[in-house]
């Protein structure tokens, strides 16, 4: 019994002398509770939906008023007026919009003639949660228009055509961009975080520091090595994941080039972020302890498993600065939506700026001495 208690005592003493481990073991479940509790199951708000009124008549105005009332009450949509149907559809494809409501020419006339009036909603069904929410809300809106409480002189019998942008996207395909980004993060966490601190603790860096290598060469060398490992992970997971999920876009040369650019930038941005977090850490336990917290803080708010539009404001704020958000968006566009590289320039720009900022903060913090 005493021998068993000796083991327990030793473990307890170690545990209570490791504040990082204690904090991590308590903060991680709380962070998960708060982040996951708010990241899943919320109602969609402020989905950017274009309204293209090609009719301009009084009946089209009723549709627009109904649309606005949804905006005012449920706040499911953020309506954006478009003149051009083609541009609206293009922007849905590029991810700038989550959907577009098209009121075709002659809609009012067809209502008056009771000649099968129709409106259409084009949805980006690469995100099933978002497209289902828009479809449900617009179906309800059209039903309300067709069966108003006070019956008007002319009753609209409008049909809602739902146009899904892509063939049915299974959940496995939907998860692929998030899984790819997560795999790259794990690679950076191990290759750029844990191994970096382990080498430091083992004295490997002491060996580097007595050579004439400059601070910049050392920082860039360490970051490049971490990023290359993450790029290799990214390429392998993109290929294997696409084959497993049945995503054929990787076989398009331009998409593949776009994916490579996104993989490289994501790897660099993640690695510079990790380097900044680890630059003054000495204890090998710390990266292991914060791994779960970082994963929760960065992965779930990114919109990779549930749309950002369903998050509360504070979680959206995290999503807005989280490099995962931009990486996931870029990979979604290229893998699932088959967009051109121009559609992800915003993601590319953010990841580049993020990497530049984190690296420029980390360099002065990096100590060229022990």
């Amino acid at each position: 019994m005493n021998r068993m208690m000796a083991i327990v005592e030793r473990e307890m003493r170690k545990f209570f002398r490791s504040p990082a481990l204690m904090m991590a073991s308590m903060i991680m479940p709380l962070a998960q509770l708060i982040i996951l509790g708010n990241a899943f199951g919320g109602k969609i708000h402020d989905a950017r939906v274009a309204i293209v009124d090609e009719d301009g008549g009084p009946q089209a105005l009723r549709v627009r008023e109904a649309f606005d009332s949804v905006r005012a009450n449920m706040r499911t949509f953020l309506p954006i007026n478009y003149d051009n149907e083609k541009q609206a559809v293009q922007d849905v494809r590029n991810g700038k919009l989550q959907g577009a409501l098209i009121i075709p020419p002659q809609f009012s006339r067809r209502v008056y003639e009771e000649n099968h009036p129709r409106i259409a909603v084009v949805v980006d069904n690469s995100d099933n949660f978002m497209s289902s929410a828009i479809e449900d809300e617009l179906t309800n809106m059209v039903n309300d228009l067709n069966q108003p409480t006070v019956e008007p002189r002319i009753l609209q019998q409008t049909a809602l055509d739902i146009v899904e942008m892509y063939p049915y996207i299974e959940y496995m395909k939907y998860l692929l961009p998030g899984s790819l980004v997560l795999a790259m993060f794990v690679s950076v966490m191990i290759g750029g975080g844990m191994l970096y601190i382990d080498d430091k603790a083992r004295g490997v860096h002491e060996g580097y520091l007595v050579t004439p290598i400059t601070k910049l060469e050392l920082v860039l060398g360490l970051n490049s090595a971490g990023a290359i490992k993450a790029v290799m992970t990214g390429v392998i997971i993109t290929i294997i994941g696409s084959l497993l999920a049945g995503v054929g876009t990787i076989f398009h040369p331009f998409t593949f080039v776009g994916l490579l650019i996104m993989i490289v930038l994501t790897a660099i941005a993640f690695n510079t972020m990790m380097f900044l977090l680890m630059v003054r850490i000495e204890d090998p336990l710390v990266p292991r302890a914060i791994f779960g917290i970082l994963n929760t803080l960065l992965f779930f708010p990114s919109g990779s498993v549930y749309p950002v539009q369903a998050f509360p404001k504070w979680l959206r704020a995290i999503a807005r600065v989280d490099p995962f958000t931009y990486a996931v968006d870029g990979f979604k566009c290229l893998l699932l939506k088959e967009t051109a590289l121009s559609a992800v320039w915003g993601d590319i720009l953010y990841l580049t700026i993020f990497a530049a900022i984190t690296l420029s903060i980390a360099i002065p913090l990096f100590k060229r001495t022990l």
Binding site: R17, R202, G203, E206, V210, P212
Partner: protein, 349 residues
């Protein structure tokens, strides 16, 4: 006493000082908060010399070597490596030095040759010279047949030899070794000593070595600086240091149940300069004449009916030098080090 010794330390040996200085350390201080790890130390190392820093764990040897090798900033004072001020021109100094840290830091997952290749590149050794230099070094440290072995498969002694080769891959002029034989078995220690002797002879190196082994310092070093509590307490050639201790022999003797005043009675013997009582009837008697004192000591014991359990006569060792200058035995300090608990967070200036 310290002030006098520091003056002597600055002067070094009594020989005429004609050789240029490879290392110059002037009034160097390292502080961590209120704690002074190195306190106003000055010395120089002549070109081609093997210079030893001797002291117990925590004396400040590693801190000194880390300041000289640009690994930690100097609080005050100056250290120059072949004329390059390590604070102002660290890269100039780094190009000229090879450093073997106390811990074995070669990458365990890489092979012997890969480790050397990486360091050759870190030191910008031209590609065409790299392979030749590595082949030569592998032969020098007797690791040629292990060149493709992963470092983790090597024994401690072989890994230490690899570290020595790593520090020489760029043909440095000055070689720093921080406790190179700590943790090695006696056979490996002797192998490392022999290797260092060969290397010095072949490459005309200046070597600065820290150690807490008296025999190592005695065997390897041309001059030795004794460091204690961050201060330099003595510096000279091993022979000169030993000569500076009153008495040329040490008699280690164990008596069975000696009377209380036995130490005082031992002091009355001719030529005795100092006595250290080590407990359990064990005494170390420093004397200027070993044979005469031994005879008198045995006669006194017989007359007093005090049995002599064991007796040995030795020449003065560096251990005696350490005791003379610090008032304590180095081996006691080493034992204390086992009980020393490192602070949780290292103090920083």
């Amino acid at each position: 006493m310290t002030a006098d010794l520091t003056v002597k330390a600055n002067g070094g040996s009594a020989e005429p000082d004609t050789a240029p200085h490879a290392i110059e350390v002037e009034h160097i201080v390292k502080k961590y908060g209120d704690f002074t790890a190195v306190d106003n130390v000055s010395f120089y190392v002549k070109e081609g010399e093997i210079f030893g820093l001797l002291g117990p764990n925590g004396a400040g040897k590693s801190t000194l070597i880390r300041m000289m090798t640009t690994l930690i900033p100097i609080t005050s004072g100056v250290a120059r490596i072949a004329g390059h001020d390590v604070a102002k021109d660290p890269n100039g100094a780094r190009r000229l030095i090879g450093v073997i840290p106390q811990a074995l830091t070669s990458d365990l997952d890489l092979t012997v040759e890969e480790n050397l290749q990486i360091y050759a590149k870190l030191y910008d050794v031209p590609a065409k010279e790299r392979q030749r230099s590595i082949d030569e070094l592998l032969q020098l440290v007797d690791l040629t047949k292990w060149r493709d072995a992963q470092t983790k498969t090597l024994s401690g002694g072989m890994r230490r030899r690899l570290e020595i080769a790593r520090g020489l891959v760029h043909h440095p002029k000055i070689f720093f070794l921080d406790e190179p034989t700590t943790g090695l078995d006696p056979v490996s220690r002797v192998a490392v000593w022999e290797m260092l002797g060969n290397i010095k002879a072949q490459r005309q190196l200046t070597i600065l070595i820290t150690t807490h082994y008296m025999d190592e310092a005695d065997r390897l070093c041309d001059r030795i600086a004794i460091v204690d509590h961050g201060k330099l307490v003595a510096l000279d050639a091993p022979m000169a240091l030993k000569a500076s201790v009153p008495g040329s022999n040490v008699i280690e003797v164990q008596f069975g149940d000696p009377p209380d005043d036995w130490e005082q009675r031992l002091h009355t013997l001719d030529d005795v300069t100092a006595i250290q009582h080590e407990g359990a009837g064990m005494y170390r008697v420093l004397t200027g004449n070993g044979s005469r004192t031994t005879t008198e000591l045995v006669e006194m014991a017989v007359q007093a009916s005090v049995p002599v359990k064991s007796l040995s006569v030795q020449n003065t060792t560096l251990d005696d030098v350490f005791v003379h200058y610090t008032g304590r035995q180095l081996r006691d300090e080493l034992q204390k080090a086992y009980a020393y608990v490192m602070p949780q967070t290292p103090m920083r200036p």
